[in-house]
Structures are given as C-alpha cells and as structure tokens.
C-alpha cells in the first residue's frame, strides 16, 4: 500500500514571500501499518492541547478503496496549513521523508534504529508556547513549540509554528537519527562532538530542502542556476530566524553559507566551547564543498558551453546533492564511538568516500582543503586514512557470526586489541575493559564509472574509557572518564578492511590536548551558568531530576557527565 501525504515545501511565511507553493506531495511506501494520528510502527504524532494537556483527535486514515492501492489521510483542506489535520500530517510526512533519506541504499543502506528502547518516535507538533523545538531521548520525542510573532506582539493569531517549518522538523529528526547512529554523542562533553550533532541536524535540513523539486526549480530560477550565495537552501529556518531577529538583513536561524572558522584572531573565528556556534564551522565547510560539487557538475553537464549552465543546474543540483548526502551521512556509520572531534568526522568522511570511490579524489581534496583553511585540522595529512587493506586475522573470521554473536565479537576484539587500538594491560595493570557495540550488516549502493554496485559491509565498533584531568576547580572531582573507541569497516566479500578509525587521540597529542582544553572550558562555562550540576544538585523540589540541567556524578574521584546534548537541545534551543 502506498499513502500519499502533503508536506510543507519550506515554511508558511517564506513560501508566501517567495511565491513558492506551500506544499508538495510525498508517497510513503515502506511502513507496516497506518493508523489515525498519524501513527505508524516507527512514528506517532501526538497532538496535545497545550492548555488542557488533553490529546486532540488524530487525523483519520482513509485506507485505499477496494481495488486501489493509494491510501491517504483525511485532510479537509490541504491549502489551510494551520489546520489541525494538516499540521499533524505535515510533521509525520516530513519526519518520515527525512528518515527515508538516510535509509536509502545510496546512503546508509539500512533501516534506522532509535537510541531508545522502543520502535516509535513520538512527535508533539504543538508542544506549547516557547521559542524552541527539540529532540529528547528520554521521552522518545520531538517536541515542536509555537510562539507569538514578536513583530506582531498584539496579534495572537500570528503565531509561528515550528511544526510548519520543514527545516526545523528535519533538523530535529536529524538529531533523533544521529542519536541512533552515534549514541555516545548524547553524553559527550567535547564541544566538537556536540557541535557535530548540530551540524548534522542542519545539514539534514539542507538535504531535505535539496530533495524538493519545486524548491530547486524556484531557487535556481532566482539565482541563475547557482547556490553560491545565500539562498533558501543555505538559510536554516528562515521564518523562525526572521521572527526572532527581525533586524537581520538575511534572516534565518543559521546560514550555512558562511566563513566561520577556528583561526584565532580571524573576524570569523567562533568560540571553541559553544557547540551551536562551533557547528557552523563544520556545516559551513561542508556547504562550501556542496557548492563546488554543484559547480563541477554544471560544468560537466554543460559540456563547456556557458549558455547551458543554467539549464543543467537543476540536474546538477539533484545529482550533486545525492553525492553530497552520501559523503556526509555515510561517514556517520564510520564515525568511531566516543568523544569525537571535527577531525575524526573529517577522517570518517575521507575514509567512507575513499573506500567507495578510490579513483575519484576531487571531493576529498576539497574537503581536506576546506578543513585546513578553517583551521579544523593543522594540515591535510591529519585527514589521511588508510583504506581497502588486508588484515590477515580477518580472512578467517566468520562475519555473520561476528554480527550475530556477542561472544564472537568480544573474542575478536580481545584477540585484536592492538589492531583496534584498545590499550593492553601490563604486568601490574589489568587489561582495559572494553565494550563491543551492536554490529551492523549494511548493503550500500555505489555509482561507479561502470555503473551501480552494491557493497556489503560489516561495521564493527568497540569502545573503552580513558581518564583525564578535570580542571574545573575545587568543587569538582579531579579526573573524568572519556569514552573513546574504534570503528572497523570490513568488506563482506573480500574481507578487506575498508576503514579503521579511532577516536583515541593518544597518538595525536596535539588533537588530544586541544580537545581536553575545549572540554575544560565548556564544562567550566556550563558550571558557571549553573547548568552543570553535580550529585544531588540535579534534583528539583519535586525530588525528580531537573530538566534544565546537565547531571554529573562523582564516583571514585571521577566526574561522569550525562546528557550534555539533551541540555543543548532543550535549554539552548534549535
């Protein structure tokens, strides 16, 4: 059965402003069942009345008539985007479309799983009045708020609904998806790890924008076929941003077309310990690469004829966006567990792309150049990784057994500690304990010069804790554990190592020192703001954990921090 649903192309005000049609259709084909709400096995929309707390009726599902295969949801008037039934269907459709974008064979090539122990992501489209929207692992939910437009404070009817912004829904769904892929980032205390969450969420919104044929047509029509400058693609959550800060010239929550960097003294240098700002360095870097990909494809399709560049710009954008999506999302599966830096993600990008497209270096060169240019790494060599090599012990490993059996996985990790970078014990020190993560069996589609190829991979991840100094002053424990780990990607057919990546930076002392310093600074700042709380200071007067704090516990002189990303989503907003 197929279900056709409408969804917002962008957001209500921007659609009107740019004369873009407000909605477009999307066909859902991969869900087990459809119920009123909408509710499916993986997504449920719960539209609460924010005043009374009651659950409002969900939009009715209309199954296909006999002999037909197309079902739909009963939206009375799909031009009324503020109606209850449209709002419910829009969040549902946008979240699902975002999920499908990740799951396709040409991207991750597998079904997503959530970081929580339940199959269903709950979406609350009108969570209450607040200038915010967030993903929260503990409640398995996306909560999208609304607020009175500050430009029209006396007009309560001019509300900004974050649930009507494709960017915002995609951004929050991106957080939920990334949490399932890289759950360690949720408890990370490295600013760059937290920033990675934000950057990927913003890039998810960008890629969702690229998915819209209508938006591609309209934007390229306005820009003569270019995405070099700020457009509806690079501007994240325009309606929201414009409402929150009406005086800005461009007006958006963030602009991916930026020059933000980590070069001390540069006017575009951002604060290293503020994850949202920091995220713009990474997303800006990758957006620049996307622009280059688009330009290159335009050149190629136009065959050197400058007059054809506009007419091929749409195709170039569609194809380029797909390549870009593979580059940035496939790297997430290669990301090592634990606290990761931008450099780790950069290496994961290079490894994933190199393993898949060994002969096509151009995109990787651009990425390396841009990472160096923005001082995310010292030099290109910092992003070099070895891929597609043989490791003898793998030749005898039963990969199916490795995927299915925890025992086999632990046995393999223990026997190959050195290869996987797991610290060995010594005469007076026991071996460092480690944790093997659930293995993934993925089949991805690659577009090689000679056509499409399917590549099956086993993704093996292992993590362990390191201890480092916690330089936060006398109120806090002197040390803290840091989770690090290694990802091993194995080609299922050849048993060659497609990539081996570790977040253990002990062999990269400069990166290690830099990340430690960033952690200290961010934790001190959070403590100073009263956001980071130790011990029973995390409990409120109702004896339950406070929602607006990050909890830290002290055991055996170690400070362990939980849910820093949750705080980032909830208290800092989008």
């Amino acid at each position: 059965m197929k279900v056709r649903v409408p969804l917002m192309i962008q957001d209500p005000l921007m659609a009107k402003y740019k004369e873009i049609e407000p909605t477009e259709g999307f066909d859902i084909v991969e869900e087990d069942f459809f119920l009123d709400g909408p509710v499916t096995r993986r997504v449920a929309v719960l539209d609460f009345d924010s005043e009374t707390g009651d659950l409002l009726p969900g939009v009715h599902f209309l199954p296909p008539p006999p002999g037909r295969k197309l079902g739909k949801y009963d939206i009375k008037d799909d031009t009324d985007v503020r109606s209850q039934d449209f709002i419910q269907v829009n969040v549902f459709a946008t979240a699902l479309k975002t999920m499908y974008m990740f799951e396709k064979e040409d991207t991750l090539g597998r079904t997503l799983s959530w970081a929580f122990d339940s199959p269903q992501l709950l979406i609350v489209p009108r969570a209450g009045q607040w200038i915010n929207a967030y993903y929260e692992r503990d409640s398995h939910s996306l909560q999208l708020f609304y607020f009175n437009d500050p430009r029209y404070p006396d007009d309560p009817d001019r509300k900004i609904f974050t649930c009507l912004s494709r960017d915002i829904i995609a951004h929050e769904t991106g957080h939920a998806i990334l949490d399932g892929i890289a759950p360690d980032l949720y408890d990370a205390i490295t600013p760059q790890s937290l920033a990675l969450h934000e950057a990927i969420a913003d890039l998810t919104a960008l890629l969702m924008a690229f998915q819209s044929h209508t938006l591609r047509r309209v934007v390229l029509g306005h820009t003569n076929g270019s995405i070099k400058n700020s457009t509806a693609f690079s501007l994240v959550a325009e309606e929201f941003g414009k409402a929150c800060d009406p005086d800005t010239i461009v007006g958006s929550l963030r602009n991916l077309k930026n020059k933000k960097n980590l070069i001390p003294g540069d006017p575009h240098c951002v604060t290293r310990n503020e994850p949202h700002e920091l995220s713009e360095v990474l997303s800006g870097t990758l957006y620049t690469v996307m622009v280059k990909i688009h330009e290159k494809l335009k050149e190629k399709y136009a065959g050197g004829d400058p007059n054809k560049k506009f007419s091929v710009s749409g195709k170039a954008l569609a194809v380029g966006a797909n390549r870009f999506k593979c580059i940035i999302f496939r790297a997430l599966d290669y990301l090592p567990p634990g606290e990761v830096s931008f450099a780790d993600y950069g290496r994961a990008i290079i490894a994933a792309d190199q393993a898949s497209y060994p002969d096509d270096e151009q995109e990787r060169k651009w990425i390396q150049e841009e990472f160096v240019k923005r001082n995310m790494v010292l030099n290109k060599e910092a992003l070099e990784v070895k891929t597609n090599f043989e490791y003898l012990p793998l030749t005898t490993v039963d990969l199916q057994m490795l995927v299915n059996s925890d025992w086999a996985a632990y046995e393999f990790a223990n026997k190959n500690r050195e290869f996987l970078c797991i610290p060995q014990g010594s005469e007076d020190q026991p071996d460092v304990p480690f944790k093997v993560r659930p293995r993934l069996d993925v089949t991805k589609l690659y577009y090689h010069r000679d056509g499409k190829h399917k590549v099956r991979e086993c993704l093996f991840k292992v993590s362990w804790d390191q201890v480092e100094l916690n330089q936060m002053g006398p109120r806090y424990p002197d040390q803290r554990p840091i989770t690090v780990g290694t990802t091993l990607a194995i080609d299922w057919d050849t048993k060659k190592v497609r990539a081996l990546l570790t977040s253990d930076h002990s062999k990269r002392p400069e990166e290690l020192h830099e990340q430690q310093k960033d952690r200290d600074q961010m934790l001190c700042r959070l403590a100073d703001e009263g956001v980071l709380r130790l011990g029973n200071h995390v409990f409120g007067p109702d004896n339950k954990p406070l929602r607006s704090v990050i909890s830290a516990e002290s055991t055996h002189g170690l400070m362990r921090v939980h849910g820093a990303a949750r705080m980032l989503h909830i208290t800092r907003g989008l």
């Binding site: 069942f33 119920l35 009123d36 709400g37 509710v39 499916t40 096995r41 449920a44 719960l46 609460f48 924010s50 009374t52 707390g53 009651d54 659950l55 969900g58 339940s118 269903q120 709950l122 609350v124 969570a127 209450g128 009045q129 607040w130 915010n132 929260e136 503990d138 409640s139 398995h140 939910s141 909560q143 708020f145 002053g473 006398p474 109120r475 403590a527 100073d528 703001e529 009263g530 029973n536 200071h537 409990f539 409120g540 007067p541 109702d542 004896n543 339950k544 406070l546 929602r547 607006s548 704090v549 909830i570 208290t571």
Partner: protein
C-alpha cells in the same frame, strides 16, 4: 576602644542581623548607631518556627533602648527575610521603628510601572506560579516539603503584606540599587556604604523558563478544585511510552519554581559597610547571576566579613574566581577575616552545601555557623551552634 558589632540571630531558616556601629559625628562625638537587616524565617516546617522571634525582637529592643533603629535594610521579598517584623507587630505586639529604611528597588510600589521589562518578567513568573499552584491543588500528593516551602516563600500575596508593613517602618524609605544616590538616606557620618546589588532593572535576573504542560483544567467561576487531565494513548502507541512523555512534559514546573525563587533572591540588596578600615559585606540571598553582574561592574573588592549569601547554598556561593576578588586566599591587609552562615538543615535541599563551603570558604576565613544545636545533617558542628532565638556576635575593633 570602639567596637563594631555584628549580631547574627538564630531565627532558624532565615536572616536577622543587627549591626551596632560606633559612628563619630561631625563634632567628633561617638554615637552608637544600629542597622537591622531583614528578620524573617521560612514559615513552614521546623525551619519556620515562630517561637524564635520573641527572644530576638526582645533583644533587639533591649539593644535599641527605646530608640528607633538608625537604618533598617530589607534585602529582598522572600518571607524568610521579611515576615518577622510584621509577625512581631501583629502577634507579639512589638513595634520596631526606624529613622531610615532601605528596601530593594523592586519593592517600591510604582517600580513595575517604571520598568516594563522587569514587569514582563514578573508577570511571566507570576503566571507560572499561578499555574503551579493550580497544579498542586489538583495533585496535592505531588507536594514535597521543599515544594511547600518554595511555594510559600514565593507567595506574592503573603509577601506583599509583609513588604507593605516594611515600607512604613521608617521615617524615610529609600528603594536602593547599585548606583543609587544614598545622600540623606542614612544618618551615618563616619561609616561608608556601597550598594553592590541589585541592578535597578531586575529583568537581568530572570532566566528562561522551561515549558510545562501541567494539564490542569480549572473552572474559575465555579471555584471547584482544579482537575488533572489524564489523556489516553491512541491506538498503536505504547502506553508506557505515552505516559512517560506526558509525565516528562509536566516536569518543567520544578525548574520553574527554582527559577522564580532564584530571580527574587537575585534582587537582594548586597551592600558593604566600611568603618575604620574594616569592610563588611552583607549579601542577602544573592545567587550566581547577581554575583556575575556585580563582577561585571567591578564591585567585588576585598572585605573582612561576609554574611554568606543564600544560607550557604552552592548557587549563593560565587565560584573561586569571583570569591578570590572579595575574599582572596591571602588577606591583603593581614586583618583577620570571618564569615557567617545562617541556616536550618532540611528546609531547602542542599542548603547549605557544606562541601562547597569546606572547599571554597573555609580556607579563606574563619567561618561560623548560626544553626540550632542538635540538628542532624550538619557536618561541621564545630563551626558553632546557637540556641533558637540566641545570637552569635562578631566584633571589629577600631
């Protein structure tokens, strides 16, 4: 030899401080002048026992010897700082009068008309307080002693009655803030005062409130008890996940209650008193945000005595960096330094935070506690216990 005395009363969980200053007038004569700071306790539970007020008020009157106070200071509008004098007047028949009074700026009747941003913040806080009050009526079993204490301490109506009384306690009342003109606002000649906080516009002390969907409906007209809405999970949604979500969406009220409490604490009058080389700091219940603002305006200068803020809580104790500015580890002039913490354990959770006091304050000065004897959960009893209604004196010789 002239001696300045700070007398800190044990009113259980609250503040009552009498400062007696030998102040030399223009002709060189010494006049012993008295400043009373606050007087109140938390009203509820053991920390709020009213019996403590009689001996305290009697002692204050004895010291005053039929004279009015020279200066009364109300630090902020919380019952544990303001309700004692109204109680003394109405229940004990003791009237304490003052020549001058300083009340925190936002206690002025017309304050919120002049400060629209602060009004916006206060209105939001009051709205949230009202919603929480309604929720607690609907679900009384969710009240913990701490919630009851905080609700009462921040109850606008009860506080208003006390503040109204205090507005009329003196011949001349000034609503003070950092930078206000204190000329003719006190009778002291030799003694110097400096107001470190609050800011005139108290909106700086409000943070962002958390969203909370308490799910309570109330029919105001019928005045019936509010009812908690219990939504049912729709088909296809796991009931456990659904109710977990509903519960979590309610939880923001606890954060908001603390935020309301914190905003009021941060409006505390924080002032220094300088007398013959001694510098004393009375910090009310200033919390982190107020300390940061004080630092921003370079107010933090070394002192010899500290009335520890907010009963020794973690949030009332500035971090090492700020503390170092007004209570450096090494005394800049080699004079002895001391601090006093007034509290009653079990009234507010984690107040005081003895671990933080131990790490941050103990190495810097001689810390004394004003706490009732026999209280459980006091780690450093050696820092002193004082019987209910009794007092601890700190003396500073010229």
């Amino acid at each position: 030899m002239d001696t300045l005395r700070v007398r800190v009363y044990n009113v259980r969980f609250g503040d009552a401080i009498l400062v007696s200053v030998p102040d030399r007038n223009a002709s060189g004569e010494i006049e012993n002048r008295h400043i009373l700071i606050d007087v109140g306790n938390i009203l509820i539970g053991e920390g709020g026992a009213n019996a403590v007020f009689r001996p305290v008020i009697e002692n204050i009157l004895e010291v005053l010897n039929d004279h009015p106070l020279d200066l009364y200071v109300m630090t902020h509008e919380h019952l544990d700082h303001v309700q004692g004098l109204l109680y003394a007047s109405e229940e004990l028949g003791f009237e304490i009068k003052a020549r001058y009074a300083w009340l925190t700026a936002s206690a002025a009747e017309e304050y919120y008309e002049k400060h629209p941003e602060a009004k916006k913040c206060l209105d939001e806080a009051r709205k949230i307080y009202g919603a929480i009050e309604c929720f607690l009526k609907a679900v009384p079993e969710s009240q913990t002693p701490w919630i009851q204490t905080m609700m009462l301490n921040n109850d606008p109506q009860s506080t208003n009655d006390c503040v109204k009384h205090l507005r009329n306690i003196a011949d001349k009342t000034t609503y003070v803030y950092r930078g206000c003109n204190l000329t003719d606002c006190h009778p002291f000649y030799e003694t110097r005062f400096k107001i470190w906080a609050p800011e005139e516009d108290t909106s700086v002390y409000y943070g962002r409130f958390q969203p909370m969907t308490l799910g309570v409906t109330s029919d105001q007209q019928s005045r019936s008890k509010p009812i908690l809405t219990v939504p049912k999970p729709p088909p296809g949604v796991d009931a456990g996940d659904f109710y977990n979500l509903v519960t979590m969406r309610r939880q923001g009220y606890s954060d908001n209650l603390l935020a309301i409490d914190r905003a009021a604490n941060n409006t505390s009058v924080v002032f220094s008193l300088e007398w013959r080389g001694w510098k004393l700091l009375f910090a009310g219940d200033a919390e982190r945000r107020s300390w940061k603002v004080m630092n921003k305006y370079d107010m933090l200068k070394p002192v010899h005595f500290l009335k520890v803020s907010h009963h020794g809580s973690q949030t009332g104790m500035p971090d090492s960096g700020l503390l170092e500015k007004f209570l450096p580890e090494t005394s800049p002039d080699n004079r002895p330094r001391s601090a006093v913490v007034c509290f009653y354990p079990g009234s507010y959770r984690n107040v005081p935070d003895e671990e933080v006091l131990e790490k941050e304050l103990f190495p810097r000065c001689n810390v004394r506690y004003v706490v009732s004897p026999g209280c459980d959960d006091v780690k450093h009893v050696e820092k002193g216990t004082i019987p209910d209604g009794g007092h601890q004196d700190f003396e500073f010789q010229a």
